[in-house]
Amino acid sequence: MRRLVALVIAAALGLGAAPAGAAPKIRVVTTIADLRALTEAVGGDLVTVDSLARGNQNPHDLEVRPSLMVKVRRADLLVVNGLELDAWAEVVVQGANNPRVIPGAPGRVDASRGVPVLEIPPGRVDRSMGDVHPSGNPHYTLDPALVAIAIANIEEGLARVTPEHRAVFERNRRAFLGRLEEAMARWSRTLGPARGAKVVVYHNNWVYFLARFGLVQAGTIEERPGIPPGPGHLTQLIRRMKDEGVRLVLVEPWNDRRLAERVAEDAGAKALVLASSVGTATGSYIEAIDAIVTALGRALR
């Protein structure tokens, strides 16, 4: 019992976080798994990074659990995706009682700052349009070219909370961009033969990725974002898929897979379940995009 009490007190005081003599690591929390992987790439050995949403969870509507508040309570830096994808994070922050990461604090990073956002609604946005993001499509981390902007924002945030390590972060960022460039050439070669191919997606997640690699989004299973489709929309979609020769339906693990398979079957296409985020706790961003490109390249061959 005494040992347990000592452990709890040690944890409360932050003891045992780093071995004696070693500098304590910067504790970073990100809202989505892609940003975790990108922050690890920039922060290297100087950071420990945790993501609130796991790669296999839908980041649009994550349940706000007190366990998420525990992570944010101890964070030195919070990296959010922005563009209303992770608006739930504000509820987590408010419950975490950590002034270091509230909006506007030095420990807060919006990774979307400066990203050329696609699909910004031109006029008024209301609920009749479904769960539309008023600031535009928030899934920019699926474009490997745009993550250069995101990691610049992350580097800036890390350097703000630990200015003494700015040079290390800059070196890590450049090294990551070098690896990304090599990978980009590989991905372009893999998907090159499929350029111009049409795909249907379940939710409008893939627009940045498809645009980057010259693929065409021919439609969405959801009639409006976040709203289950009606039979009229599905009938029209299947007809269009047949007319336009669409061979592939992209579906994410949390979407209605059976519905996607039924639509694909009726249209003479096939459904491909693709995780649109870094999947496991140890996966890197490049490995995640590698997996997506390989699966897509194979399916569109």
């Binding site: 709890v8 944890a11 409360a12 932050g14 296999n56 969870q57 839908n58 649009h60 509507d61 994550l62 349940e63 706000v64 659990r65 007190p66 366990s67 508040m69 525990v70 309570r73 101890r74 209303e84 608006a87 739930w88 504000e90 509820v91 408010q94 419950g95 975490a96 009682n97 950590n98 002034p99 509230i102 909006p103 506007g104 604090a105 609920r127 479904g130 769960d131 976040g226 709203i227 289950p228 693990p253 949390w254 209605d256």
Partner: protein, 298 residues
């Protein structure tokens, strides 16, 4: 850098005669940048007492409030003016402590409406993840103040909530939750022969529990059981309520429930200008969400 978050909610409610009433449901501000992991909320608020009190009625798991909350805290619940201070412990697991001071203007349990005989509240809440799919929240609350007749009133509450959410699911497959309240209240009774006033202490208990299952994204079914004593009168009541919800989208929900209640006396309570020992009710609710996608609390 913002250091305050402000919230103001207005409620509109229609009565059976069709008249619409508007009221200020909540108006408060939260100081976000206090030291040592603390935060203060000031103003009029739904008190964070137990599992459901802080949740607005349309967001609660069932259409109506559990009997024990209605009997012990009134139809509105505990909505008070004052301040709450919370502290989240810097531990590897979630532990939140709360202390509050309010004017105590509740319709049944606390009625002084003055900080001179303040309502003091406290709550401890913890939460554990049980693997990748399960999660459990436990809490204990206390509220101490005076009734409208300047008599001592104390409420103690215990709560538990468990959710099972399979990997990649957007909603819980199974939810189990319950809450128990224990009330200690002094009352003044008049001797019918001597007409002398005498102080007595009433110790009363009540609880509810519900189970919900949602195997499909659009459909949810559940069952709630209520058992409670009356806070001042002798006797008790129980109720059972199966319910069904249909959600065509995340912004629209229809709920249907059947509630069967039995009391050991007829004259304890009234609804719709009538009293009865056995009551059967059919409840229906349609609710919709305007504006931004709301966050889903545990």
């Amino acid at each position: 850098m913002p250091f305050v978050a402000a919230e103001s909610r207005r409620g509109a409610e229609g009565d059976p005669r069709g008249e619409l009433g508007l009221s200020l449901a909540e108006a408060n501000l939260t100081l976000l940048t206090l030291p040592f992991g603390t935060q203060a909320k000031l103003g009029q608020m739904r008190n964070r007492f137990g599992l459901l009190n802080q949740i607005h009625s349309h967001d609660r798991p069932q259409i109506d409030s559990p009997n024990v909350l209605v009997r012990f805290l009134g139809e509105e619940g505990l909505v008070e003016r004052g301040a709450e201070l919370t502290w989240v412990a810097p531990l590897p697991f979630f532990l939140e402590a709360l202390a509050g001071v309010f004017n105590g203007d509740n319709e049944t349990a606390f009625g002084r409406g003055s900080l001179r005989s303040a309502l003091v509240t406290g709550r401890l809440r913890t939460f554990v993840e049980l693997g990748d799919t399960g999660a459990l929240q436990l809490g204990a609350s206390v509220a101490r103040g005076e009734t409208g007749d300047a008599q001592r009133s104390l409420l103690a509450g215990w709560e538990a909530k468990y959710k099972l959410t399979p990997e990649t699911w957007r909603h819980a497959l199974l939810t189990l939750a319950g809450e128990a309240l224990y009330s200690v209240r002094d009352v003044e009774v008049t001797d019918e022969t001597t007409f002398a006033g005498e102080e007595r202490t009433r110790r009363r208990f009540g609880w509810y529990a519900y189970a919900e299952i949602q195997p499909f994204q659009r459909w949810l079914g559940g069952l709630r059981y209520d058992w409670t004593e009356f806070p001042v009168l002798r006797g008790h009541e129980w109720a059972v309520q199966p319910y069904l919800a249909f959600m065509p989208s995340e912004f629209l929900r229809f709920r249907l429930a059947y509630k069967h209640s039995e009391r050991d006396k007829r004259d304890c309570c009234s609804a719709n200008d009538a009293t009865a020992r056995i009551v059967d009710e059919l409840l229906f609710q349609a609710s919709f969400i305007l504006g931004a996608h709301p966050a889903h609390p545990f």
